[in-house]
Symmetry: C2
Subunit: 156 residues, 2 copies
């Protein structure tokens, strides 16, 4: 079991790649972000983007999709519940056009104990999604709770 | 037309309400966040949540859905393109259970000119989603670009 104490700053995890097809972009946007440059190729061509682009919430949700797969695969190894108190500084740095492929990865940037809940620690990660041209399209600073070994040792 | 200069700090906009049904929670989660407490009622009952809960990315995407409706309604009145450079400090403060209704609103908190792009200004909002018990379930600090009247005046 990996506890809070075992998480090493700098550890990087490849989460995998995802290609945003026009159909997929429109399906997400029709439900959650119906701005014309996300739902209609012709309107998108006339917009400042010049072509159909994915909703930023779509590209962020795909991060969660890939992250969840990793969490589920490692479920027995990690002391995290998969529960996050939130995230900081989500940045949409480049438009994601229909046909673009993003490669997502995450790296541990810092961690700290929780004064109010000594059985838990919080681990911060920097998520990065890079497109097929090598450009960073999305960054998110995420956080997640991990159980502390010290706490489980002292309670036994 | 509403320009950057016309946006008043403190202005609050009601975005509307949304009820998260079990079917809706599972449909989003199966595609974007397949953790068992989002996809399976029985597994969710056995989890620390005690029942099916919506993915945090689902509750955030519903904010975008409601915000997009407002942007589209006001398209002719606002000088914003609907384009955002990103978000800060998204906080998931309470679980959102199947059947819960969130009421979303947004309030202008601050704004500033962009030194590098004098034709634009950036406006920051605090988004809040409150559940049917009056508890804040979600907060997001958003930002969006608005055209500056000064810039359009000086270019005419």
């Amino acid at each position: 079991m990996k506890f809070f104490e075992d998480i090493e700053i700098g550890t990087r995890t490849e989460l995998g790649s995802y290609t945003f097809t026009a159909e997929d972009i429109k399906r997400f946007a029709e439900r959650y972000d119906p701005q014309p440059f996300h739902t209609d190729e012709d309107a998108a061509k006339r917009s400042h983007f010049g072509g159909l682009v994915a909703s930023g919430w779509h590209t962020a949700s795909v991060f969660m999709k890939l992250q969840a797969q990793v969490i589920l695969q490692r479920n027995l190894e990690l002391s995290t519940t998969g529960v996050s108190p939130g995230f900081r500084n989500l940045r949409w740095l480049k438009p994601v056009y229909a046909g673009d492929t993003l490669r997502y990865s995450t790296a541990v940037t810092r961690k700290r104990e929780l004064a109010t809940r000594p059985q838990w620690g919080i681990v911060f990660n920097q998520v990065t999604a890079v497109n097929q041209h090598g450009e960073v399209a999305l960054e998110i600073e995420t956080s997640a709770l991990f159980a502390r070994r010290d706490a489980s040792a002292s309670s036994s």
